[in-house]
Amino acid sequence: MVLSRVWYAVLGLLLAVGAFVLFMAEGMYNRVGARSMGEALNSDSQVVSWYLGNDARQRSAMLIEFALHPDIAKYLAKSSDSESKVPEDAKDKVGAALRAVNDKIPTDFSFDAVFAVDQYGRVVAHTGYEQASGLEDFELGGYPVVADALHGFIRDDTLVLDRIYRVVTRPVEVEAGSAPAGAIMGARIIDDKFARELSSRTGAAVAFYTKGERVAAGSPEGFDKSQLDQIITDLPNATGDADYTEKGRSSIRTIGGAGLGVQYSRLPGEAWELGAGFAVGRLPAHVDGPLGFFKQADDKDKKRVPVILVALIAIGAMGVGFVFSIFEHSRPLWIFRREAGRLAKGQADQLAPSKFRGIYRKIAIDLNDGIDQVAAKGGVPRRAADLKQVLGDIPAEPQMSAFSFPGDSVPQPSSASEPEAPAPLPSAPSSPRLPKVPPRLGAQAQPAQQPAAPGAQPPFDSTLPSMEASPAAAPRPPPPRRSGADASPTPPPAGANEWRQVYEDFVALKKQCGENVDGFTYEKFEQTLKKNRDALVARHGASRVKFSVYVKDGKAALKASPIKG
């Protein structure tokens, strides 16, 4: 059992190691996930910033279309020459030109609103900014982005007006070298549509905020953008972040129960000072417990698992376990059962310890010792067998006369109703008396106490368990007991040789027991055996009867075992 136990220990250790590794892997996975999330958030913030800048540059290039439109330049110059008011025809012409040009711009770079501003900063015309429709004094000249354009610069800005606008401006010139006639400003509203486009192009989940409110959000597929609503509660804390204040980008923050990672960035332009910005968010790669790996694994991960190797490991482990259990449990048990069977059948008089291993050897030795102990005591005290129950009516002259030897004082067999009484042997060979037949095996009859008188014929011990068994049933002869070498049952010899051997064993045993064997001839012995055999064969339908010798109460005794088949 050592190997099996070691194997169980190995399996247990492997299981523990597996659990340990899983728990450790969970921690490592979550830690790496958090770190990766931080790096990814940094990357997202950077990418979004680049996107905003690059998008502004590309859109500023679109402003050339407006600046080169002859009506726009011409009428902006006209408006700039009119100090008191914007000429009405300038409004119309410039407005029409703005709409015409804006319609031609590719959708990806189109503007939500376009403004044409004269040198005074007055908005001569605009399109897409309906909030200002009807405002006679609408102007934009105070914004640095417009002022820069009026002074010959192209640049971008983020204005926080009624909404957040990403704007680009450029000057409009009537002729090269002259002062700009005005400026064109294109604006893109930062709304959900803008955020969605940004998200689809950068892969970042992004939300824009201003004045403590989320104003737009977009997220890639698989990310619930409503998660970004949580930034509202965190914004007051985030804006106090030293990195956010100084560098414009906060450290990585974790908010919400799902561990949403967020990084806040300030938007460039006027929005920088107004507290407007954007937040990128990511959910960490996280597993809830060791079994969480199964939930996280996708089909690709599962395909990467060497299933065959895993199956082989499992089969191998099971095989090793089976082999160990067979070698250390099943096989010894089988051998023990086989040997016990042999013992039960009388094919062996004791268990051979050399055939067993481990605990079975010890058990065999103990059993042998037990058998010897019982045998040394002359057998377990049992009730006298009722031979009549086994053999039926016994003739008045039981054929046990073979056990009556001349000169022997043979005690009369005791009655079956008196099991404890010594069973007297038949006094004469001609009138043998069968001993009481013991009860059936299941009754565990006690052998009759038959103390033989000195010089008496050896009793025919019919109280043996083998005699108690039904001949039809599997014979269950009790293990013949011998003291020392004599305890082994006589192997079933055939015919006279067998009986001769039994006779010799019997005589020898008698001598060992100090009994008188004078006049105890084989012929008499044989006649007695024959009669008993015939009687037993007739009663039980046995094919033969095996006789063996043993010591009982310090005297030699015979045991008759009918054998069927």
Partner: protein, 261 residues
């Protein structure tokens, strides 16, 4: 109110003074003049905004076809350069409020000089709200002004007061309380101005920009007739402006190089 009307109100503040202090328009004398060197002035808001450290933009590039002299961030003088006629004695504040439009990232005018206790009316001409406040001014705390609404404030005393807007960082207005202000005017884009005086007398013409005096104080004696200042009032050095422009050009170039890198 139409844009023309508002414009007139703003730019005609001097006229309003004249009306309040003079017996009649027909008898008012004028001081006509011109400012020079104003391209040497630098709008402080725009100047700050071009500093990359302010994070005001992701890119800012010059348009090479625009000459360098125009690329200097000189102010829009019709709104920002206030020409003041200072009388010898204290002047009474105007009876009606002076309208100041709030819109487009600034106010119109940007700089105004008035006698203390003058009422100013800030009218929001933008389609969204503003949150004006006076920097360090107890009587002008942060307050919301929605579209089309106005907010009144009286200049508490002599001195310079800066008005800002929490909703528009570029908005910076300077109100100067000056007891002797008799008339104010704003020049055209060409630098020409005209002060309408309430009465004959000795005056000093002074330009104010971004809350401070710029250029020399020019004494003028008015005696029943209009006075033409033959010498332009130089508010800044043109050469200096050119140097600044060159400096800016260099800075822009270095900014471009940084961007390319």
């Amino acid at each position: 109110m139409t844009r023309t009307k508002a414009h007139r109100v703003a730019l005609g503040a001097a006229v309003a003074f004249l009306v309040s202090g003079a017996p009649g328009l027909a008898q008012a004398a004028k001081i006509k003049g011109k400012v020079a060197g104003w391209r040497g002035l630098l709008n402080p808001v725009w100047d700050e905004a071009r500093d990359p450290k302010k994070h005001g933009y992701t890119f800012r590039e010059v348009v090479p076809t625009v000459r360098a002299e125009y690329r200097a961030l000189f102010p829009n003088i019709p709104k920002e350069l206030c020409i003041v006629a200072l009388a010898a004695g204290k002047q009474a504040p105007q009876r009606t409020a002076i309208l100041i439009r709030v819109g487009g990232g600034r106010t119109t005018p940007v700089t105004i000089v008035v006698p203390p206790q003058t009422q100013l009316q800030f009218l929001n001409t933008d389609p969204f709200k503003h949150r004006l406040y006076g920097v360090g001014v107890q009587t002008f705390q942060v307050g919301e002004t929605v579209k089309g609404a106005h907010r009144d404030w009286a200049v508490p005393g002599p001195g310079s007061f800066e008005i800002r807007d929490e909703a528009a960082p570029s908005l910076r207005t300077w109100v100067i309380g000056e007891p002797n202000v008799a008339a104010i005017a704003y020049p055209s884009l060409k630098g020409e101005f005209q002060l309408t005086l309430p009465a004959d007398g000795s005056y000093t013409v002074q330009a104010y920009f971004a809350g401070k005096k710029v250029g020399p104080a020019v004494p003028v004696e008015v005696k029943g007739r209009d006075v033409d200042l033959k010498v332009p009032i130089k508010v800044a050095e043109e050469k200096k402006a050119k140097k600044k422009d060159d400096k800016e050009k260099d800075e822009d170039k270095s900014d471009d190089d940084k961007d390319k890198k």
